[in-house]
Symmetry: C2
Amino acid sequence: MLMRPTTTATRTSRYQFPRSGVDVNTIAGSMELMGIRIPYARNVEIFGEGEPAEYLYKVVSGTVRSCKLLDDGRRQVTGFYMVGEAFGLEPDEEHHFSAEAVNDTVILVVKRSAIIGLAARDADIARQLWAMTARELQRVQNHMLVLGCMGAKQRVAAFLLQMALRGSGGDEIELPMSRQDIADYLGMTVETVSRTMTQLENDAAIGLASSRRIVLRDRTALTRLNA
Amino acid sequence: MLMRPTTTATRTSRYQFPRSGVDVNTIAGSMELMGIRIPYARNVEIFGEGEPAEYLYKVVSGTVRSCKLLDDGRRQVTGFYMVGEAFGLEPDEEHHFSAEAVNDTVILVVKRSAIIGLAARDADIARQLWAMTARELQRVQNHMLVLGCMGAKQRVAAFLLQMALRGSGGDEIELPMSRQDIADYLGMTVETVSRTMTQLENDAAIGLASSRRIVLRDRTALTRLNA
DNA sequence: CGAATCATTGAGGAATTTCAAGTGGTGTGG
DNA sequence: CCACACCACTTGAAATTCCTCAATGATTCG
């Protein structure tokens, strides 16, 4: 499973937007009170690997990918973050992966120190931070199973099922990311992703309305692949 | 990168051993005070996926592997835990992977509720728990890079370098795990692991004193592979 | 010492990558 | 509004890597 390097993301400065507050019981809620909204254009880097981790981020609209890069340019997308999901939280002072806007995106940004400060006084907040990281760990561990054990068809099927869950939940999926993003997430090449998609379509497991609009026609078949 | 199923672990009952206390400032330290030592024989399951997570574990001697299983028997080893390392801590009440003794092992076991109780009162303990999980997350994210981007030679090289770091630090490595364990960790077959090892030996990058005793002869070459 | 497990090696085949070309859509400037 | 340029996606054919199956060696353990 080797593949060609992927070109990297642009880097720009940050805007500042008005806030709008709600809900205070959870971190996710209290974030609204403390954070500011910042728009990022497609493919712009939100933070880079090795940079100081000063903020916690939450997707307001759009989609974000987190990546790790190999020196020769090969890329592993470690995850996608969709509306409502948080990312970039670190207990130590440094980011261990980079984050980029998959498409035009608005991110809610909160000072890390504020969160940490809360956690120092409120054991429940502390626990939520921990739980957040733990959920992320689970997600990534599950993905190891995909990367370590599955063939191309299984990988794509698993990916589509996962995306369906995170989207409306129905059988129509609108993919925000490119084939290259998917490929780098699944540890394969664009070409193989593409071929596998058409193959699934021929199997009548999915329908391809357009390259980014996918319909799950036979969930059972898709699920069975993962067996 | 598909492969044959791997046979699973035995399951036995648990012993109880006398304790010996030390050091109270860190969790790792205070664990000694609260925990009991339990020996596990080679290939015995310490806990299973889906079981209630009642304890936190720390390796006193021996080595542990954590795994996830696919229904058809394929296995992904998600990590190895060596002397001094902790595992099995979960913020929620359930284990999301299983753990097995790679060889005869002694594990220090501490009640989860005790730890959580401490954390509720001491923000610093809470933070250590979080940091523990976060370090694990980092480790796993790095491994995604291996599984997603690297070829066989790179994977094995990366693995050996990592093992050298965790061992004495010198150039001699004593591998506690089988080729099958390594294969399932690296997402390849035993045969390919074996072949790759001999290939690295022919490249004069490593020496194979025995199948489990490996000498790093050319660290530069091994590192360069990862470039 | 023999049985069993673990590790290595070989040969052939399957899956995926690579390289190359072609298609389709989208935005921009004329 | 069209033409062109650009980018994302698809498809084909050849090459490669890794897996599978099978046999042989080595090591461990009773």
